[in-house]
Each structure stands twice: as C-alpha cells, then as structure tokens.
Amino acid sequence: MPDSLYIHIPFCIRKCIYCDFFSVPYDKSAAQAYIEALCWELILKKDSAQALKTVYIGGGTPSLLPDECLTQLFICLKDNFSFSSDIEITIEANPGTINESKINTLFSLGVNRLSIGIQSFNDNELKVLGRIHSSEDALISIEMIKNAGLNNFSVDLMYGIPGQTMESWKDSLLKASGGSPRHISTYELTVEENTPLSRFIESGEVIIPDEDLILEMYNYAIDYLGGCGYKQYEISNFAMPGFECMHNLNYWDRGEYIGAGAGAHSFINEIRSINTKDIKSYIEILTEGKSVEMEPIRLFPPEALKEFIFLGLRKIKGININTPICIPPLIRGDIRGCNSILDASKELTTEGYLEFDRGYLRLTRKGLVISNTVIVKLFEKLGL
C-alpha cells in the first residue's frame, strides 16, 4: 500500500511561457469548489494508503490558495489519513504569492518543507519566462521563510533561459546558495511543443543558449553546489545530507503513490493512472461520488523493468542490481534479471558512460548528460 500522496492544485495567476503543465487562471470561488471536490476524492481514497511518509502539494501554484482552503484541505487530510512520525509535507510556493502570515498558516498546518519556484535571480530572465516575481521578491521570500523558522526549503533554478549567460547563471547559483536552502533543484528549460516558448523560438523572437553553454552551466552547477555542501543525488537535484526530497525519491525508487486532484497521477499495484484533467468534470464526477481515474495502464515485466532502469538511473547512487530485493516482485520473476542488466551494460561501462561499483550501476558524469541515449542503448542491449 502506498505511503506517499501527491495533491495537485491546478491554479496559477498566469501561465509561464514554457509551461505545458496543467493549470488554469486562479479564481477564488473556483478554488473553493475545487478544494471541496478534492476532499471528496481524498475521502474516497482514505483506505488505500498506509501511514503517510510523504505528502507533496504541487501545481500550478498551491501557495495561491486562501488560508481557509488550505485549512480545509489539511483538516480533511488529518481526518482521513494517518501520518508517519517522520512525515515530509512539501508545498510548492512562488515568490509573490507568499507573505509572513501565509507561511505561518502553512507552518501551523503541518507543512515542514517548502519548494520555492524562483527559477532565476536575473530580472530579464524572469521576465522572458513570464514569471510574476522579481529577483527582489525572491530574496524577500527566502528571508521570510527563514524568519518563520522553516529551514527545510528548496529553491528551483532554471538554466538554458533565453538571454542567460554563464555570468548570470553563476550569480543565480550564488544567490540561491547564499539563502542557505537545504535543497536546490536545477532544471534545464525544456521547450515543449505548443507552448508560447516554442512559438517564440520558431519565429526567432527568442534564442536559447547553445548546447555547449548549457552543458557548461550544468557542469558548473554540479561542481559549484558540491563545493557548497550540496550533494547531487539525482540528475537535477542537490541537497545537504539528510535533506533529499523523500517524495521525489519515492518516484525514482518506483515506489507506489496516490495522486489526488485534477490531472494527478497515481501508481498502485503496478497500475499507473491519471485523474481527469478538466476541472469542471473533475468536480462533477466527484460530486456524484465516482472515481476520476482514467486511462489505467497495467505494467507488465518489460515495461516495469524499463521503468526500474530509467527511473533508478536518474539517481546518482544508481540502481542496486546485486540485491534482488530492490527489484519489484513482478520483475524479479522475469528472465531478464539482475545479471543481464550487468551484461547489457558492459560496453557502456567500458566506454565510460556507466559505472558499476559495489552492487550499484550508475551513470557517470559523461553518461549523465546523455542519459536518455545511454538508457535507450541499454534497453536495446536488453532487448527491451
């Protein structure tokens, strides 16, 4: 039974130009109706979880929710689920949507980890991305969080932004680490189809940094953050020892989780499913007391093995292929077991893209930057 819960809040003040994630403009009455339905969904799912170890409230911009909505959500959570004593409760927050009182509310409700979507400390870059905050707002937010006594927070940064230079990237990293968050995520700006960003690039309105610069930025981040005491534990994630995001680690460990909210994903009993994305039908279906889960996909050993590999290799620690215990039961019975992963990885290991050490197979720095290619090659070798 899952001990991990994801809650999706699909509201934003406005959409960023690169975003193809599901969100709609914020509206208070819509938010209230949505939280009402969300609570219904949580009640429906209350018996399908064991004591929760992680709760992650993502979006959208969950920090937009008014206090009464947040309170209602947490009361519902506590009424219907039991919390493990070391539970990690994260909420995503954007600068410009939080103030001292909001932080105190979250704190008092039990949130013990904040993930702040700062993205950049350069105002031009923030403007290009269509973010609503300034670098000043970002610094103020960090101060407020620390003043409220919450030290376990994470800062999201982005590289590969149109107009970004090595200098501005270094500056963003410096300012982020200067705020002493326990955790930093660095994401490459991804150009998704059918976003304003993809159209701007096509029309030549914006130009993204070239590949070599992006690589330099990535490598610099690893070295710089490492020097500041942030250990890289996943392709895009860095943390002070003991402050890795437990919720995300569960995804990469192929652990089970419940998703609640419009467009949220679940993974239970080797079945992956997604909730309906349309807020209106999400509310309607739940009002009728029915399930909003759609398109369940049952995973069979080949798919499960693929997931185990590509999720596991995102972790810097790699995948443990010596102790079969870490391989999900469904895969364990499959003929393509641990040894064959090791066999299949030989060439890639010789060429320096993978390394095998004390039972763990992992991507090297050289392999990390072309992880998709390495993983697909490994699939090929495995006949997957």
Binding site: Y6, E188, L215, F267, F310, N372
Partner: protein, 595 residues
Amino acid sequence: MAKNIRNFSIVAHIDHGKSTLADRLLEYTGALSAREMTEQVLDSMDLERERGITIKAHAVRLLYTSIDGKEYILNLIDTPGHVDFSYEVSRSLASCEGALLVVDASQGVQAQTLANAHLALEHNLEIIPLINKIDLPGADPEKTKKQIEDTIGIDCSEAILASAKEGIGTREVLEAVVKKIPPPEGVDDKPLKALIFDSWFDNYQGVIVLLRVFEGKIIAGKKIKLMATGSVYEVFQVGIFSPKMEQVPELSSGEVGYIIAGIKSVTDTKIGDTITDADNPVQSPCPGYRDIKPMVFCGLYPVASYQYENLRNALNKLRLNDASFTYEPETSLALGFGFRCGFLGLLHMEIVKERLEREFDLSLLSTAPTVVYRVKKTDGKIFSIDNPALLPEKCDAIEEPFVLLMIFVPGEYLGSILDLCQEKRGVQKNFTFIGKDKVKVEYEMPLNEILWDFYNRLKSLSKGYASMDYDFIGYRSSNLVKLNVLINGEVVDALSLIVHTDQAYVKGRELAEKLREIIPRQMYEVVIQAAVGNKIIARESVKALRKDVLAKCYGGDITRKRKLLEKQREGKKRMKQVGRVELPQEAFLAVLKVK
C-alpha cells in the same frame, strides 16, 4: 458474327480522365449499376486508386445497343498509364482495332498523350480524339484540338467533347466506337492464334490469362501451346469479364476474354506471347513479342535481419503476379543479406517496394536505384553489373543505357528545363514549337540521370506543367567512375555510386553534406568521406552527441517519460547499424537528394 465486335483501348496522359471515362462507359452500358460502382472499377488495386494511375491492364466486355438498333459487343481494354509499362501498353494496343485518345481540355497535349498516340498509330489503330473535362473553367477545346492536329496529325473536326466526370458525351463515345472503329478481321476455322496481353495469379485458380483471339477459337478442353516458352497446357475454363468473371463456351476470332489452364506462374505466360493449337500450331506468332528486361535495379534489405526469410517469401509471392520484376540474393558488407531487384522503371520500383511493405508488413531498406552498366575489363571481357559496388577498380570502358527523352513544356519554363537537361548530361536532338506557348524538346540522355530526382525537379521547375516520356535507344560508352562513401574510415558498399567523371567532385561533396544532414548525432563522432579510387574528395563529420535534455522528470508522470524513451528506441529500430554507426534508411537514398 465478328461484325458486331469492337475492340478498343483508352489512351491518355496521366490524370486526363481515362479511368473516369471507363467508369462512365461501364455505367452507361449497364455493365454495372451506379449503385455497384465503386469509383474507378478498373483500377482494382488499392495502390492504383491511391496513386490515380492504372498499373495493370484489364479487359471488360460491354453490351451496347446503338441508335442503329443493333447490339454490339465492345471490349474495352484498359492500359497502364506510365512509361514504365509501355511494353504492356503496346501489347494491349496490339489487341485492339481502335483507341480513344483522351486529352484534358485545359492541359492540352502532354508527353504521354503523344507517346501513346504514336504507339496507337504504329499499330494502325483508328484513333478517336476526345477532349475531356470541358466543364472546367480553364477548358479550351478548340486550342486542344489544334494541338492534337499539329502534333499528332489526326483530324479533330469530329473530336468528341466530353466531361467524363459529369457524364457528358458518353453516348457519343459509344456511338463513335461503333461507327468508326473497324470490326475485327479473322476467321474461326483456322488454327488458333491468340495474343496474351495480361495475366495474373489467383490463389484459387492459378494463372488467369487475358487474351485476344485473332484466328481460330479457344474452348475448354483444348490443348494449347505458348509459343515463346513452348509449354503446353489444357484449357479448362474460358470466359469474359463483364466486369464480373463469367464463363462462356468459347472465344472465337476477334474476341477478347480470359482462359484458365492450370498454369502455375505468370513467368510462363509472357505478355506478348502467342497461344496456338498444340496439335496444329500456326506458322508465325503475333508480331511484336519481346522478352522484357528490367531497366532499373536496387538492393532491398530487411531493416531487421530476422525478416530476411519473410522478405524472400514476399518477393516470391509478388513475382507470381508480376513477371516483370526480378530478384537475386545479394550480400552487402554494410547491410547484410538482401536482394538485388530489377524493375521496369522508377514507378514500378516504388510500387513493388510499397506493396512489399504494406501487404507483407515488412520494414525495408532500399539502396539508390541504378541502371545496368556494361563493363569492358582490361582482359577484353565484357560483363554487366547492376550494383555499383561491383564495378572493378580497373576497366577499359564502361557503357551505360541511353534514352531519347521527350519533354513538353510551356515556353515560360523552357529556360530552366533546358538547363536541367544540360546538367543531366543531355544532348538536344529536337526542338519544336507546339502552337504559340508550348515547346516539345527531345534529348538523348543517360537513363541513370533520369533516376536521380529528374522527374521531381522537372515538375517543380515547371510548376507541374512539364511532362515527359522516354524510350530506350541503346548502350553508349561514357566516362564513368565509382564514387565510394566511407563512414568512419570504412567503405559502405551500399552507398557506392557510378557517376560521370566530370561530376564526381561535385556529387561527392554534395552527397557527403547530405549525409551529414541525414545522419543523427550519436555517442561518437561520425566521419563521412567521399572517395574516387584512393582519393578522398570530400569530408564531413557529425559531431558526437554531447547532451540530452536534462529536464525535470515531472511529478509522478512516469508514463510520459517512458513513452518518450520508447519513441527514441523505436527510432533506433528503424536504423541500420553499420559498424558502430546507426544509419537511417534515408541515408541510402541520399544520392537522390543530390543535385
């Protein structure tokens, strides 16, 4: 008896409305009710309908009561509409006494209009001109008539004005067929003499032969002899297509129909061959028989080597129905086991490839098309090669096939078309104005040049208005060399080409550049070189892949990431591993993209 029979074909340039007219004739004579009509009944193969062309010939018997009150049997023999199949067209025409020449009223005379009309004239057919699509806004029937008179020299004063699409002029067509086309000659009490103009393989009945009886008659039980092969069979069914298959007691002189005689393969029923009495054969066969040989060759390889046997079976099955293509096993260092296949022309090649992939669910890799070269070795021996990789480093002379190419083009595009012909090593032989605004040019040109993106460029340079046709005129000596392509230092035999010495440098450079664009980045640098002999004439490189997108793995949406990787994996499956390098299928056709 023979007096009320009329045997005729419809000939036209592509898209001038031949098949639509055939449909109208079937509908009008009640051969099929409107309800039964699937559009363009005679083009029964899906591919034919999709491409809007007729690949195989068919014959349909229509019953028509003329305004003179008599009932006539009209045998409509459909013909393929492409230069690749001109021999088949000629055999169909040889089975007729007349032809309807269909010309689009707005497009006027085109290259195949002329080529087909000449073919019909060669067979002494009565030609009935028909101006089609007169309902379209751009139609100019008078101008079209004049063009026909000027270029073909036939009287157009009684040309039929029609719109096959709208059913205008259908009755006039049928009346003209009855009045103008002579009835067949020939007598029933002579030894059998019949011409094979088509045949195909049916899974249940074996080979079905379409024929035209010139002398004598053919009935079930008769022992027949196929004169070209000398093989003897017993006929066990005789019939006609109405267009449904219908048995008849006999086919006598002047008639058109089918026979089934326990023949197992279409390679035994050669188109143009003569069928006669086994016991009392005629002295001389029908004239014009040729053993047609493939003109264009390419290597076909399964992308996944385990599909080799499937490919062999598919080729086998396809050949049951198409004796004009050939295949021989061949081995390529780069591509492994495959087949060298021969075709009548480019369209024929594309059709066969497409049928193999579609009907037999194969994923195929094809090398660039090539002609057959004649090579004189230093020891004086002469041999033919249909694969550029087989050209020896040293030889005395190389000969290549030449064609006489005829192009019809509106005057405004003439300049660029002449440049194209020049670039393609053409030598101008003729230049004639057709009316005020159209020109007919004739060039002698190596066939090989036509295979490499000639038609597409002709069409794009003329905004689609130019048309072409060609005839093989023989082998000629040319100054040719082998151009090799090396990938990471290794010659990839499947990429070798034979090019004219003067073009070797340009082609080598362009080919290397094209390959650089086509080959995706890989984990290692890929070096592409073009070489003549030991001399490297071009070098390009595809830089090693340095990074993938280091994107966020979106919260919980694992399926999206899995599908992304699976897509990447599928893309790899479609590539051919040559050494350590993965080459996409289009790399092997890169030469076609080179100027």
